[in-house]
Symmetry: C2
Subunit: 453 residues, 2 copies
Amino acid sequence: MSRSELRQLVRSQLQMLLTQGNLQGAKALLVPVQPVDIAEAIEGLEESQQVIAFRLLSKAEAIEVYEHLDSAIQQALIQKFKHQEVLDIVDQMSPDDRAKLLDELPAKVVRRLLSQLSPKERQATALLLGYEEDTAGRIMTPEYISLKDYLTVTQTLDRIRSLANASELIYYLYVTNASRQLMGIVSLRDLVVSAPDKTLGEIMTRDVVCVHTNTDQEEVARLIQRYDLLALPVVDLEQRLVGVVTVDDVLDILEQEATEDIYALGGVQSDGDNYFQTNLLTVARKRVVWLLILLGTNTITSEIIRSQSELLTKVVALAAFIPLLTGTGGNVGAQSSTVVIRGLNTDEIRDLGPLQVIWREGLAGLLLGTFLGAIATVYFYLSLQNAFAVAFSVGISLVAISTLASVAGSSLPFLFRSFGLDPALMSAPFITTAVDVAGVLIYFKIARLMLGL
Amino acid sequence: MSRSELRQLVRSQLQMLLTQGNLQGAKALLVPVQPVDIAEAIEGLEESQQVIAFRLLSKAEAIEVYEHLDSAIQQALIQKFKHQEVLDIVDQMSPDDRAKLLDELPAKVVRRLLSQLSPKERQATALLLGYEEDTAGRIMTPEYISLKDYLTVTQTLDRIRSLANASELIYYLYVTNASRQLMGIVSLRDLVVSAPDKTLGEIMTRDVVCVHTNTDQEEVARLIQRYDLLALPVVDLEQRLVGVVTVDDVLDILEQEATEDIYALGGVQSDGDNYFQTNLLTVARKRVVWLLILLGTNTITSEIIRSQSELLTKVVALAAFIPLLTGTGGNVGAQSSTVVIRGLNTDEIRDLGPLQVIWREGLAGLLLGTFLGAIATVYFYLSLQNAFAVAFSVGISLVAISTLASVAGSSLPFLFRSFGLDPALMSAPFITTAVDVAGVLIYFKIARLMLGL
């Protein structure tokens, strides 16, 4: 087969596979083909297919193929990244497929692509770039200035004057080498106070705090907060600079993360949308899951109470204290899980191991339970006119339930986190179940002992 | 009486009043005295009394008196601001007294004072400066550069080179007039891109976002967040620049405020300390108030249940559903108050009035209650073997309690806010009380109707 016949075959095969939606097949087809031939085959495709085909290339191939496209086609390709039909195709892939099919884009293409998109479009195309949700890749901006290390301070200041209108973020300048790898950082402050004939290589800070495109956005926020940065550079796996995350974006992220935690603790699902701008059915959907779980939990509690009907018929006063006991247990458990969950999310717990935290909380629960139990025993003894057995049952149960609730409330968040689950979301239902069910069982057991029934 | 006799008298009177701790008297004594004589009287006092006497002067007087002190004494006075015994005296005044006795300090003194204190000392002496807790005055730093408007770009750059090592915060330069009033801002970016012979007056931004020393720190954080600022200038009542708040401090504030909200919603008091580094008694103290309130609430619920003993003796199955009803009511109420409180704190509610929010939440509660009520009725009807009246009572009660809980949970935060109270702190106990008490009353009423008792 002649070279031109081969090229013809690749082009028609590629077109067919893409039309069928067989992306895996198309990816496999292109592996043995020369970059220059891939470039030609891509140029022969219809618009929306060009981008998809390009995205199926491995990163190394994509760099070479991109170089072989002429600059008008390069430009057109970048433009097509924001076409809705292309975005839809990528959106419909499963996350696994996306990870398998879409390699990182070359840093050069990312830069060109991002710089032509509005922040909104950037958000929409982030998926196409292969960056998962809540990662640095999704929140970075291309508005940074990268320069070479041989430039002098004077040359740099001249350069900044011409660039500054295009870029807001000139407080940090990034020094990159020929392969676009991040070598160091020069702050505008360093630049202004340095001798005019020094080079960037001489004055730059080489110990740069940076993150990868797949770093979690919460980790990005923590780093900016810890090091008091105005911006944080984002690099790809080969240390090539692809974007920066700025401190004002981080303010929004921290607020959003706090809202998610608060919603989770309050039993409301959060999807980042403004709760007050969603319709009533969405509101109900966000709340009903949690309520159903608790209804289920409470049903178990009800069954246990019903199983004690003969005891309750004999001493009807016992029924009056069930809400008090489960309520107090729930509150003590919520306190413990609140401080532990927030502590995990803000690194406040750092110095203590899980066992130390759980032990501390258990002691606090015992202390609180003893105090509340003593008050309750005295109060109910007086108000129940000498029904000491009932009052004392309530008091002892409060001690046991508070201790149990503190231990459950502080240990479950650690447990869920070790399984990779979000403690804020998962803890409350389990703590409530444990405390309610165990609480009424403890109460009835103690009451039977005290009353001799 | 000769002038020198008068001075002698003032000095001895002042000493006596200060020793007695009669600050109000001391303040009144100094009102008619000439600044130069006050300066001399102050110089004659012992060290710790000098500062107190100086702080009793009105702002206008303080400026003049300060100018009459010779520079060694000025310096010594500033040093004394951090003496522990002086801080203790101010700390022991009631907030009202402080507001009455301590006028704002002159901007010049504030600047000199702040620049000689470590961040820790600054925190400690903030009270002495007359700034209340959680205000811009407490979190501002003196590390800013203020310049006059007639300086050229070149002169400014030279100045920055000599100042930069002393100050980290050179990304914004503040332009002030002869009376230290803030006239405009020049960013380092503006400076670098401007022609060298322009003056600061020509290139500065006159429309400056700034706050007063008594602005709440949360408001400061919101402004920095909204306008994407790196720093925000703080001025006194005469528009004189006294400090700046930087974005990295704001990150910490937002996190601290979120922690406070999360703790409040979880029923734990927050005082800004790390929960995990406080001792067990402090932990118990932070949690016991809330638990006692809820114990009180639950006692009322218990009393209501006990008052229905004869009903419960007849139909003991009714008792089994009380925790389910109060639990669900509590959860629905917590959801509503969570979203409203977070919405108020993050301005998400902006577009909706309180009545619209409460109406929406009421509808959501009705919707959720109907859904949960239908499920509960069917389930308990089947599991209770035809005790339809009880199952239906539970279902109907769920509808009523969910609606009530949503309305209470969404309206109380607005109510507390309009009284100037913190909704996050105040809402939960009141919502729980309302829902628990009203819930069991509704339940027993409906059960009696359904059972014909």
